[in-house]
């Protein structure tokens, strides 16, 4: 038998490398015929954490990791192997805690730990081979409001789902899966094609997919709707039923009507044959129901529903540091509880405690959320690189480009700092640090009046603001603090390389620069330590045209500038917004 190849997603290794205390946890991955891919990990958790999240169907619990200093506890690993269902040969990653943490990969076979080699894969590589199915559909159950009854109702529903009455439709492709039978189970297509083949067909029909030059990850997501067979197949020889009868029961009963909006993902290899997908989708629905039940039971332990409660929300996240989807089902709750849950998740997944990834605003956007006629996002993407040969440090994450004359407002000549401020604010909103919309001109002016910085007449005026005001507004409206950097002349900007590199590396937020003259936004720097040359990626708020990316990029409204860009005779203040602690 060929030894299967073990691949490990680089984000998993990165997180294991950053460990500095002994710990123990689970590995999750996709077990293929010849290749096993480890996609995720999670610290060994307590049972009460099982309502926090779920991984897509097909990403299964498949092994363990252990970080150890001097002594190892491999017996514990061997003992727990029986809990792994997907394979008899779980993967075991041993992390020896040293300065750089040595990682050894093993396969457990008959209670023996056999060392094996592994290779790293990047997210991009993984998702050229894997696609996501997103299953949606409405279900409804009823139950009395107690633990046992809720549990029974969910069990019955899961049994129904698994009983073969469900079917699945690919709405955009007119393919229906009615059973897992490769001959009669697939409707609307002859033969048992692989999933990759039908995706290709659809792409040809639906116009060519836009190829992006930049490295943003494009995930393929295929929508699937849950449907249900309501007829018996006359050929199947199913037990003969009876004509409809009406059963009237006048027993008075209070119960809970529980609507369930199934919304779950499965991660599948493009080679997967369609006939195999039926069972995967059943598994997706069941996994969703298990998570829903856990979340609901926990909710009902704390609250009794007196008349009604909003149904919980389903949120899908794709944290870049994880490299896989995870799905949460959450009831609305106090900020404190939500924050605690997020922190717990970060801990379980070994994510850093500084960059939020599970805020609601950060959920995965299945439909690209760019507003019609709204500001463009990330206009620097795809721009011609510099020839500075230095260290390039850029803004991290999405921002919106605010500039003159947007939303039919004529601020030409005075609104540039307001616009730069809006770009900064959009970054905080889009990263999920703040829950408010980008402030309007009026909100900015009102804010400055209310903190006593400006007189009442300032509201609705056309007076410009500078970096000090930007700092005040970010602080009072968004709760963000800024570091202020001062240079006495444009020439002096050339000395700020190390500080700006440090800002983009540790904070990653866009910088507002103003002072004696015009205001601009700095999106990044290219700093060559050898030559000392510094280039600035500038976003210019003085652009008055339409939201036309070509013009913005080709006419230099967003582009790399050298030190000469700054006015030698003017002083400058830079507003470096800091990232709030906490997630």
């Amino acid at each position: 038998m060929m030894k299967p190849q073990v691949k490990v997603l680089d984000t998993v290794i990165q997180r294991l490398k950053s460990l500095d205390n002994p710990c123990f946890g689970k590995l999750f991955g996709i077990f293929g015929k010849n290749t096993h891919i480890i996609l995720g990990l999670q610290l060994n958790n307590e049972p009460e954490d099982n309502d926090l999240y779920a991984l897509p169907a097909e990403i299964d619990f498949c092994g363990f990791f252990e970080a150890f200093g001097e002594t190892r506890n491999t017996q514990e690993v061997l003992k727990q192997c029986s809990s792994i269902e997907v394979t008899d040969n779980p993967i075991f990653l041993q992390v020896k805690l040293t300065i750089q943490n040595d990682i050894q990969c093993s396969v457990i076979c008959n209670n023996q730990i056999n060392n094996t080699s592994y290779s790293l894969v990047s997210i991009q590589e993984v998702y050229t081979q894997f696609v996501h199915l997103r299953l949606q559909g409405d279900l409804q159950i009823t139950s009395e409001q107690n633990k046992q009854s809720v549990s029974d109702s969910f069990a019955t529903l899961r049994k129904t789902i698994a009983s073969g009455v469900m079917a699945f439709i690919f709405p955009k492709r007119n393919i229906i899966l009615v059973t897992s039978d490769s001959e009669s189970g697939i409707v609307g297509l002859t033969g048992d094609a692989s999933f990759g083949e039908i995706c290709q067909d659809a792409n040809i029909e639906g116009g060519s997919k836009k190829k992006k030059q930049n490295q943003t990850l494009e995930l393929e997501i295929v929508d699937i709707n849950l449907i249900k067979k309501v007829t018996n197949d006359p050929l199947s020889g199913e037990i003969k039923g009876h004509s409809p009868v009406v059963v009237v029961n006048k027993k008075q009963l209070d119960f809970l009507a529980i609507p369930i909006r199934v919304d779950f993902l499965a991660t599948i290899n493009k080679d997967t044959q369609l006939s195999k997908i039926y069972d995967i989708l059943i598994e997706s629905a069941i996994k969703y129901l298990r998570l829903y039940e856990n979340v609901l039971q926990k909710y009902l332990e704390r609250y009794k529903i007196e008349s009604s409660a909003n149904i919980p929300e389903t949120l899908h996240f794709f944290p870049k540091d994880c490299g896989h989807f995870l799905t949460r089902i959450v009831f609305s709750n106090t900020d404190d509880v939500m924050k605690k849950e997020r922190e717990q998740l970060h801990k379980l997944l070994l994510l850093n405690m500084t960059t939020p990834v599970f805020r609601k605003t950060l959920q995965y956007q299945f439909v690209k959320a760019e507003r019609l006629n709204g500001p463009l996002r990330n206009v620097h993407e795809g721009i011609k690189p510099t020839n500075n040969d230095g260290k390039v440090c850029l803004v991290r994450g999405d921002y919106e480009y605010y500039h003159y004359c947007q939303n039919k407002m004529d601020d030409n000549g005075w609104g540039c700092a307001y616009r730069s401020l809006q770009t900064l604010a959009s970054w905080y909103t889009l990263q999920g640090y703040v829950d408010r919309e980008v402030p309007t001109f009026k909100e900015i002016q009102t804010c400055l009046v209310s903190i006593g910085d400006k007189p009442n007449t300032f509201i609705n005026s056309r007076q410009w603001i500078g970096s000090t005001e930007v700092n005040y507004v970010l602080n009072s409206l968004l709760g963000i603090t800024c570091k202020i950097l001062y240079v006495s002349s444009g020439e002096e900007m050339s000395t700020k390389g190390p500080e700006l590199v440090n800002h983009f590396e540790t904070q990653g937020s866009p910088i507002m620069i103003g002072g004696g003259v015009l205001a601009h936004t700095i999106l990044g720097v290219d700093y060559n330590q050898q030559t000392g040359n510094l280039k600035f990626l500038i976003l210019d708020p003085h652009y008055t045209g339409d939201e036309n990316l070509n013009v913005i990029q080709n006419k230099g409204w967003c582009g790399w500038k050298s030190v000469e860009f700054w006015d030698k005779t003017a002083y400058y203040n830079m507003c470096l917004p800091q990232v709030p602690k906490g997630i």
């Binding site: 009615v178 002859t190 309501v230 059963v247 029961n249 006048k250 209070d254 909003n310 149904i311």
Partner: protein, 397 residues
């Protein structure tokens, strides 16, 4: 273009025979509308009213004597027996009167009345057409003529009638629809008549059916395509699998129908609700649906006919059941199991066509013979072939 109507020659013989016994007779024209064409399948003389002295044949002397309510009731009762896709297309009149010049107002009222009674119960009438057919047979001239009358616009149009030796092939469809529907009484609303509560359940079933996906022989069909190629098309692609080739060799095999309920419900609740109920009604069981359509019909027609059939069968048996109960039984405030009559199928003689009847527990073939005679004017001397496909519910439900 003048609208067309078509029927097989035996129908002409039927009209001729009526004229031997009646001076003025009226009956229902039953059939399908196939590609805009009235396709007549059966003619059923309306039985004499109770008031009539049946020993004196032809007590209706002229068209104005006809009882429109009686005829409309005949239409309603007959519709219950028809499979989805088959309708009361209009009426026929056997009389020497000239009813078309001018268009007889009594006929207008009869058609209005029929339309009214059928529209009262939309699940019974199904996809109703406002344009009604009137077929007139004059014994004196031994001639048929036809017109159509639109009950909404009052417009009268000429119709071309043709009798043909043999009509188009019929395509059969078969389906077993599962019902498992629950309804909760609101806390203080458990006492009201069951009929009202059941209506809510039927509305839900109808809503689900409307958005349902229908497969034929486990395949998605183009709704605009005609049924003509049933059994032929697959043969061309033979070769891949013996099993498929074998299956399609039997062209008379009914097309099996699969219905898939759409689980995307925009109307779904957004809240977990604590509901105080005064109890519940459950409808559980299976409706066996067998329909047949002219092969010139489209798959879209078939989808509609299957859905219509299920709703028509449900409302028919429920209505018959409530009609059979006394006031007291209807108002009972106790737990109860109601067993509405089950649907049985009868194969019409010398035809592939099946029609349905509903049997209460204890009823049998003789009762069906009576309905056939009264409602469809079919007299059977031989034993009746009854397909009793829906099982009777056991007592343990």
């Amino acid at each position: 273009m003048v609208r067309q109507a078509e029927g097989e020659e035996f129908l002409q013989t039927y009209l001729r025979n009526i004229s031997n016994n009646y001076k003025c007779a009226v009956g229902l024209v039953l059939g399908q509308i196939v590609a805009q064409k009235f396709t007549i399948i059966h003619l059923a003389r309306t039985p004499s009213t109770q008031n009539e002295d049946i020993t004196v044949k032809g007590s209706n002397n002229c068209v104005t004597d006809l009882d429109q309510n009686w005829i409309a009731d005949h239409a309603k009762q007959t519709t219950r027996m028809l499979p989805g896709g088959v309708h009361v297309l209009g009426i026929f009149i056997v009389s020497d009167e000239d009813i078309f010049n001018p268009f007889n107002t009594k006929i207008k009222s009869i058609l209005n009345e029929i339309n009214k009674i059928l529209l009262l119960e939309i699940f019974l009438s199904g996809s109703n057409d406002n344009e009604k057919l009137v077929l007139h047979y004059s014994p004196k001239y031994q001639k048929c003529s036809t017109k159509s009358y639109d009950v909404n616009t009052f417009s009268v149009q000429p119709v071309d009638l043709k009798f043909v030796p043999k009509g188009n092939k019929l395509v059969n469809f078969e389906c077993t629809y599962i019902i498992d529907q629950i309804y909760y009484f609101k806390k203080n609303d458990a006492a009201g008549p069951l009929r009202k509560h059941i209506k809510v359940i039927l509305d839900e079933i109808n809503r689900d059916l409307k958005s349902a996906i229908v497969l034929f022989d486990n395949d998605i069909k183009n709704e605009d395509e005609k049924l003509e190629n049933v059994g032929k098309k697959k043969k061309a692609s033979r070769g891949s699998s013996n099993k498929i080739a074998h299956e399609t060799s039997d062209t008379n095999k009914p097309v099996s129908v699969t219905i898939l309920k759409n689980n995307f419900m925009p109307y779904a609740e957004k809240q977990l609700k604590l509901i105080e109920t005064g109890g519940q009604i459950k409808i559980i069981g299976e409706v066996i649906s067998r329909i047949w359509l002219n092969s010139k019909s489209t798959w879209g027609n078939a989808v509609q006919a299957v859905k219509d059939d299920i709703m028509r069968s449900l409302i028919s048996r429920m209505e018959m059941h409530w009609d059979s109960l006394t006031e007291e039984e209807l108002g009972e405030d106790v737990n109860s199991v109601h067993e509405p009559p089950r649907r049985v199928y009868i194969i019409l003689p010398e035809s592939d066509v099946t029609i349905s009847d509903y049997l209460f527990p204890g009823e049998g073939a003789e009762d069906i013979k009576t309905s056939l005679d009264e409602l469809l004017d079919i007299q059977l001397r031989d034993d009746l072939e009854v397909l009793d496909l829906e099982g009777q519910a056991g007592t343990g439900v």
